[in-house]
Symmetry: C2
Subunit: 760 residues, 2 copies
């Protein structure tokens, strides 16, 4: 096999120039002549019936061109997440939302919207809408919400979704072996319950959409969605019209995603569409940052209980996990997330007896939904602290205990696909070396007030959404008449480098120059169906689709060139956009393709892929410093050694890992949205919600380990989410190493650590 | 075979609502934020060297952001017609243009251009550009231009195009049998020489383009082109960049075409691109009507000599044609047009001995190029008058003489494809009946000053560009997850109904509802390569591609549905978007496709077609009235009976025929651009150039004859151009019938008829 020219190389991103120069177009930048500005009126109450709504004063304000509420908009139930388009039977999507309803279910729920000729007039019009509410009892805690006395957040009797005691969708149950029998055979058992908080994606660009409904009913919607094709399906469902009349696209840039817009961009798309239908003009709806906090998906807060039993030699023998997720007022991937939480928790270690039960629960809070890791960080935060606790009980080195029990290739496990590759041993060894694992336990003098500790945690993840959802990609690939390539994929690039990476695959597989490859993404008009960018899937699945199309087209080109060069197909190759032949003859690819073009031969194919799945593996190591007088913990250094299979673009992979680490540090120590007693968010802005800043960042080291997966494109596996999965438990274990306490609750703030130290 | 649901039905056009409401978007409507306006400085001389050009004053005008001329723009030779992208070997495209050159070759040739923040400033800036010209000798007549003494319009020694005595490209020579021997065996021979004028397409929308070149070099060009994919090739060539970095699209509407923008929209695209490159902003260039007249292709004026010999029973035995076309200052399809002129002239009648020689010739006039009919109207104007003259000599009815000699299916002819269908006999019979042919010769009393006459003419045409150019279509066809269809074709809709017709093909072939089909056209980003809309090819070729893709997708859907319904594939069918099964089971298409979607199966295919060709046939009949005192001729009634194969949408077919008739009447009687002695157009505006108006239109009757062609989509043949091919000779023959004179020159104005009457 020849060396790769582009795969495995840190080639410059295709979007680099435009973004560096500030001229890349995002949804918020769009301006269409005649465009109106949409604004949304939101509920001040966590649970209320709208008894009356009077929009007449708003309608009469000069400059207002449309006012909408539940009375004059679609009455078709949907869910703003893409679950309704790719959740596979026997699971069923929970359709629990209208664009507007006559009941509001959380502070920030949509009540009405206006379109006006300026943002100012639209805001004034909102103030003129008179709403009479009847407040209803509310519940904010998922445990309380499950009690028989709790108010029902969604009225029963709605046949279109399952709802039993505020539990939407299915109860998730996973089992292997006999866990009760297993525990009865164990020498040591450790159990713990761990809670994680409401974390916010904090993506740069807020939710936004610009809709233009034409007079003939055709519509175009530019938006921040991570899933243009599924979003088209949702809009077709809401407006009961053929999908073929709807175009959804990114413009093409999106300011981050992290899962916050898998499906609709909250409700930006359908509200913009309704306002455009009513006004007859293009309408842009851009959430402000506060709306993005209060009315756009968060990470699911969790309560996870782990019980792990081992033989005295340290062999894991029984593992039981229970998960509860607070899914907020609407069920955005609630069922899938509680499923992934369990599946990922049970997939790290070899263990003959395993059991998992999980439920997502409605409360009168902002809906939770997809967020980088998708349940996995919640699982690993619990599991990896239990493993460390067990190591202490066994008096074993935590790294050794892990190395003894982690999944090996070919092991039987809970997932329906095989584990065909793992570089986790190498990850643990390289990570341990980088952090200086041998220093663990030797960092402090007895009287040190500021104490250091080292901790670790490991985990795995997925390279696409299957089997939790349907998953597949299609791409078009054309060789243009000068030998340049055009690739069209429905998968967005939220800043993750999708365009660059797909171009690398195309150029590598075809043998062309990279600068001759252009990639169109995220446009239902220009690309075949793709599930979208999420679930760490785009490189693994859309990448495979590009390679498949390129292989086919390459074969056709070589057949044509072989005839021109009077050679056998085996003796010709494409290198650097040149056709070279073993008989010494040579032509440029452009010459061959132009010749074919003039003889009515075109090279264009569809690559269709229904993927397997492949596990990336990860080991995180943290060194922390804890001030025992204040409780403040500070991360000194963090190491993430990840088996990502072949790193297609190492620079981009490192970027993903570093970004994940930063988000993981925020998850571990500072980020949290709390609610007051009336269901109002206390941290609905960046000056209240503590994202880690450059100042808070420790020394960061991303280590790439490449245990190529036979199912992956050039061996690659998913890398979009792994970066934060094991960060919080590594820090928690380091804090324990430093000061001997665990908060069991995220984030591990000064106050919580201080109180735990006091309790100790 | 079941009855068709959509094919053969006059379904409402998909663009009807938007166009009727005036909200359809054309290039001139486009506005992009920050956009500049481009204006072009044009030569006042027919032939001159630019000795010096000073743009500094223009550059210093406030609001001017770019000034370009030959000094700072691409020096790559091209041709603004698409000939350079699909002329097939051994013919070679003539690359004889730069965006700007230091020699100007006709009045209106491009000298410089500016981009400014308003149209007004751009116009002011043009006046500030100082140009020093050295005038060169000019030649306007093609016969003079071929003489050894004539000035060379393109300097010899340019290796990139063939140029010998102002004859660009190849001499065209077609032969069958031995024509000299043939004439020696004839009983009667008639010869005549006929001239046709400079006719202007007079399309509603002038040439226009909006170019946006991004900082990374990627560019988007919205324009009025009839050929987005070839136009991308031309721009890639001019700017020496990969095609993949260029997107060309219609917005999507075009206000007519008639061949005037096969390739670039004159120079709107490259000038807009250069101005956008220089200014860093989007730039729109819209030709005003005068520019469209002076600096955008016209029909080639022709001199055609026909010599036809017959046996005394009227059997055609020898036919010789000679053609000269004035191609103007640049060779836009000059070679192809002179080829089609001969090929069409020799393809109407069975004749064992035929010879054709043709040349296109440069002069210092506006370039001529493609225009509905593409040489055929020039050929038929000559041929069909000679046929009538011969009928008179033979004392035969002209209809009878034609019926005796016209091509029959399977006849040997000059073209490389077979004639597999002809309904020309039926066309002649039905047309004769409609016009009242039996009244011919009995319409006037001897002393009538206003005399009536009836005449006829017949002809054929093509259904695509092959073998004169390469020809093929590709389309993408997706069944979306609700069973609606998305068709993507690179062929534009200049108002001809392409979108509607492709939707009819898709719905008919799939068995779906028409309202569930959407068609994306004319966008290099969204569609696979297509040669574009011209040569009466879109229905015939792009239609076949849609059908091919739909057949494949339909098969896949039926296979899937058969499994679901536990039936054999032969027992299931798709009717009205429902799957019906002989076992009585039934499902909607939406159910099947949604099921497949959730099981990772997508229905999407590429339809690729390299077409045969098929001849449409046409018989025109005209009744005219000539005022012998003034020479004025007026058409009373015109009948066009056309064999179009299956009429996919009869309403659209009739529209094409009626439009062609109107344009043919203008060609016959009133339309003409003349030049003054300094090479300046005398008819460069609609108040000078006499398009027929509603007032001038006679009773019009389009008769559709359907001799389905086995190679055509549902039997269809091309219909875009046939409507005007035989109009002028039918009118000329009617004038002869009325008053016994022929002008032999178009248009047959009052003055020319009056002079001919005087001469008689």
């Amino acid at each position: 096999m020849r060396d790769y020219k582009f795969v495995g190389k840190s080639v410059r991103r295709l979007d680099a120039v435009e973004k560096a120069m500030g001229v890349g177009t995002f949804t918020t930048d769009l301006y269409v002549p005649g465009m109106l500005f949409g604004k949304i009126l939101r509920s001040p109450y966590p649970h209320a019936k709208i008894k009356n709504i009077d929009t007449s004063k708003a309608e009469n304000l000069v400059g207002v061109e449309a006012v909408i509420c539940y009375k004059n908009t679609s009455r078709v139930r949907f869910n703003h997440s893409a679950t309704m388009t790719f959740t596979v039977p026997p699971m069923q999507a929970v359709l629990d939302e209208y664009i507007f309803d006559d009941v509001v279910r959380y502070v920030g729920d949509e009540v009405a919207a206006v379109a006006a000729t300026s943002e100012k007039i639209a805001s004034q019009a909102l103030e003129l809408i008179e709403v009479e509410y009847e407040q209803l009892p509310a519940v904010f805690d998922p445990i309380e919400a499950m009690s028989p006395e709790a108010p029902h957040i969604h009225t029963s009797g709605d046949s279109c979704f399952l709802c039993n005691k505020n539990i939407p969708g299915e109860h998730i149950h996973l089992a292997l072996g006999d866990v009760e029998q297993g525990f009865s055979e164990c020498d040591f058992i450790v159990q713990g319950t761990y809670k994680t908080q409401v974390q916010k994606q904090g993506q740069l660009e807020t939710q936004a959409a610009l809709a233009h409904v034409l007079k003939n009913g055709d519509m175009t919607i530019w938006s921040t969605t991570q899933t243009p094709h599924p979003t088209r399906q949702i809009l077709a469902h809401i407006f009961q019209m053929p999908e073929s009349k709807i175009r959804v696209l990114n413009p093409p840039y999106i300011g981050g995603g992290f899962g916050v817009r898998i499906g609709l961009s909250a409700k930006a798309e359908p509200i913009a569409v309704e306002l455009s239908m009513k006004s007859g003009k293009p309408v842009k709806v851009v959430y402000d940052r506060k709306e993005d906090f209060t009315s756009s998906d968060t990470r699911h807060p969790s309560i996870v209980t782990v019980k792990l039993g081992v033989k005295k030699d340290g062999t894991f023998h029984a593992l039981k996990m229970d998960g509860i997720l607070n899914t907020g007022a609407y069920c955005s991937f609630g069922t899938e997330t509680i499923g992934v939480l369990g599946a990922m928790g049970l997939s790290v270690y070899r263990c003959p007896n395993m059991l998992y039960d999980g439920n997502s629960v409605y409360t009168n809070t902002t809906p939770a939904g997809a967020f980088r890791g998708f349940g996995n960080p919640q699982a690993i935060f619990a599991l990896e602290q239990v493993v460390d606790t067990l190591a202490e009980k066994l008096d074993m080195d935590p790294a050794e205990l892990r190395l003894k029990n982690i999944i090996k290739s070919g092991d039987k496990w809970i997932l329906p696909y095989q584990c065909q590759s793992t570089g986790l041993v190498e990850c643990i060894e390289k990570g341990a070396k980088e952090i200086g694992w041998e220093r663990r336990g030797k960092l402090n003098k007895p009287d040190d007030k500021i104490r250091r500790g080292i901790g670790m945690a490991v985990g795995t993840h997925v390279s696409n959404a299957w089997p939790f959802c349907g998953d597949f990609s299609n791409v078009y690939l054309q060789v243009l008449t000068d030998g340049s390539l055009h690739v069209a994929s429905g998968a967005p690039d939220m800043g993750t480098g999708v365009k660059t990476m797909l171009a690398q695959f195309a150029a590598e597989t075809m043998g062309t120059k990279l600068e001759n490859v252009s990639v169109t993404i995220a446009d239902t008009q220009s690309t075949p169906f793709d599930i979208g960018s999420h679930a760490s899937r785009t490189c693994y699945v859309a990448g495979q689709a590009v390679i498949k199309a390129a292989m086919e087209v390459r074969k056709q080109v070589l057949e044509y060139a072989a005839k021109m060069l009077e050679a056998s197909i085996d003796s010709v190759d494409i290198v650097d956009s040149e056709i070279i032949c073993q008989n010494g003859k040579k032509m440029t690819l452009a010459q061959v393709v132009k010749h074919a073009h003039l003889h009515n031969v075109q090279f264009v194919e569809i690559g269709k892929v229904v993927p397997q799945n492949a596990p990336p593996w990860l080991a995180h190591f943290a060194e922390v410093e804890v001030d025992t007088e204040t409780g403040q913990a500070r991360v000194i250094k963090i190491v993430a050694a990840h088996d990502v299979g072949k790193a297609i673009n190492p620079m981009i992979v490192e970027g993903q890992l570093e970004g994940g680490l930063a988000q993981g540090i925020g998850f571990a120590l500072t980020e949290e949205i709390l609610y007051d007693s009336k269901g109002k968010q206390l941290h609905d802005a960046y000056h209240k919600y503590m994202l880690p800043t450059a100042e808070d960042m420790p020394i960061v080291k991303a280590i790439i380990v490449e245990a190529n997966d036979p199912t992956g494109p050039y061996g690659a596996k998913g890398v979009g989410e792994t970066g934060l999965v094991a960060t919080a438990p590594a820090i928690a274990n380091a804090i324990y190493d430093a000061v001997g306490i665990r908060t069991n609750v995220l984030p591990m703030t000064e106050e919580r650590i201080y109180r735990a130290l006091q309790a100790k």
